[in-house]
């Protein structure tokens, strides 16, 4: 597959795939729907709106690059479009908070960053 034009490829976007056969939204990009096996997938751009499912503020990082950012909040976000993703978030986010994505630099990479 070609490199996606999303944050994993350095672009300010969150992409997901929507299955034309079963309607399921999937976040980890692949050539087929992991729910039903169909290859009828449409790549879509997410709104960046979502709700916090879980959070963990990292205080002990493992590399010099990531240590420079401590503390940083790893969050799981339930996107409005029906998929779950991992991202960064403001350190004061709580489970259930409605959030919106922007993008931030982290250890030399572009990453999605959610805040209220």
């Amino acid at each position: 597959m070609t490199k996606p034009a999303d944050w994993t490829g350095g672009h300010e976007a969150i992409l997901y795939q929507s299955c034309g056969a079963c309607g399921k939204a999937q976040y980890f990009r692949r050539g087929f729907c992991a729910a039903c096996g169909s290859s009828d997938l449409a790549e879509k751009r997410a709104s960046g709106k979502g709700k916090i499912y879980a959070t963990s503020v990292v205080m002990r990082a493992a590399t010099p690059e990531t240590r420079a950012h401590v503390p940083y909040n790893i969050v799981l976000v339930d996107a409005a479009e029906g998929f779950r993703m991992m991202a960064h978030g403001a350190n004061d986010l709580r489970i259930g908070d409605a959030v919106t994505a922007r993008f931030a630099q982290f250890a030399g990479r572009l990453v999605p960053y959610f805040e209220k």
Binding site: T55, S56, V57, V58, T63, A107, V111
Partner: protein, 378 residues
């Protein structure tokens, strides 16, 4: 039918100068000798992996190093669940008559063979390479995410989680091979350095050097009559991003299948050996397995239920949290301790009745699960 005829366990902690193969060999030697076998009688070898010395054919590397020529050998990789997964496979192999005696062995110089940072980086790679790892998560962060959600849904507190660390430490104090020998309190856990919220240093298992091995045989080879009564696995996801809801995790699926295929009920269980990479792991698994009601595992710790002399002795060697965690060998120490308890050889740690035991292992981020029932046969 299969029996755990021999067990071998090194101390966990620092083994300066020993390689993964050295630690595997030590444990294997102990287990073979415990089973009363000669090396040449071992016709099957299953091993885990070493993050310090990765190899695509570790089982044959080990067999050559150890000086045996097995009829069956390969590695197994399901993270922390590997030990019980190997045991389950060995059970299947001897039960099918493919081999007579399977050596399941693991060992790793995970503490002294690399820097702590290198260990953390290596382990974080269980995350998704594109969608998770670039965000800088660590294993404690993956479990911290799960913990935050579990605490949110079931009203579990950080003080509740701390109880599990205290319990495991108390048990470790009675085992000379444990990595830690200083008692800790809930206040100590609460005051320990934050690692990845809500988990603090003492909520996390250490990185250790160590080795563990068991022999699974078709027939008893000695007085030990510890039989594998039933086992089952469940694999619901790899990455925490793709994990199902808390109520649909693999521990509940695996234990339901193991209960069905063994005819054992949780009320029959007398000893529990449950994976405890973090305090949250142990709290969740105890509740998923039915050893405590939802949100009530910590209360059961406080009431002494899981003490050595309690109704359900748990990880009497100190678990991963305090005996130590050397990778695949980590949770095999639970199995070794269980066999010692079931054969009345646990010395000052001996429980009153370990006639039927439940073991459970978890790999990844609650990704891979193995449940197993062992019983003492007459």
């Amino acid at each position: 039918m299969s029996y755990i005829t021999g067990v071998g366990l090194t101390s966990y902690g620092k083994h300066e100068g020993l390689t993964s193969l050295d630690l595997m060999s030590k444990a294997a030697e102990l287990a073979i000798s415990d089973a009363g076998l000669k090396r040449s009688e071992v016709d099957g070898v299953l091993c885990g992996y070493s993050t310090v010395s990765p190899h695509i054919m570790l089982a044959t590397v080990f067999a050559e190093h150890f000086g045996i020529k097995p009829a069956y050998a390969h590695a197994v990789q399901v993270g922390g669940a590997t030990g019980l997964a190997m045991t389950m496979l060995a059970h299947t192999l001897v039960d099918a008559g493919a081999v007579k005696h399977v050596l399941c062995v693991a060992g790793e110089n995970r503490l002294t063979g690399q820097s702590r940072d290198a260990a953390i980086v290596a382990l974080a790679q269980v995350g998704h390479p594109d969608y998770e790892v670039p965000l800088g998560p660590t294993i404690p962060a993956y479990y911290g995410l799960v913990a935050s959600r579990y605490m949110h849904e079931y009203g579990v507190t950080e003080e509740d989680l701390a109880e599990f660390a205290v319990l495991m430490r108390r048990h470790a104090l009675t085992h000379p091979g444990a990595q830690f020998h200083e008692p800790i309190s809930v206040a100590d856990v609460m005051a320990s350095r934050p690692v990845a919220s809500p988990l603090k240093l003492l909520d996390c298992c250490p990185v250790s050097d160590g080795g563990a091995a068991v022999i699974i045989s078709r027939e008893p080879t000695n007085a030990a009559r510890v039989r594998i009564r039933g086992c089952a696995q469940a694999h619901t996801h790899q990455h925490v991003t793709a994990a199902p809801a808390l109520s649909e995790l693999g521990a509940e699926i695996a234990i339901a299948k193991a209960k069905a295929n063994s005819g054992v009920e949780i009320s029959d269980v007398r000893y529990a050996a449950v994976y405890d990479s973090f305090t949250i792991t142990l709290a969740m698994l105890l509740e998923d397995l039915g050893l405590a009601k939802r949100g009530e595992a910590a209360a059961r710790v406080r009431s002494g239920h899981f003490n050595r002399d309690g109704a359900m002795p748990l990880n009497t060697h100190g678990g991963l949290l305090s005996y130590g965690h050397c990778g695949v060998g980590g949770a095999m120490a639970h199995l070794v301790e269980t066999q010692l308890q079931m054969t009345g050889r646990a010395g000052n740690r001996q429980v009153r009745d370990a006639s039927l035991a439940l073991l459970h292992g978890d790999g990844g981020v609650l990704s891979s699960h193995v449940s197993m029932f062992l019983e003492r046969a007459r």
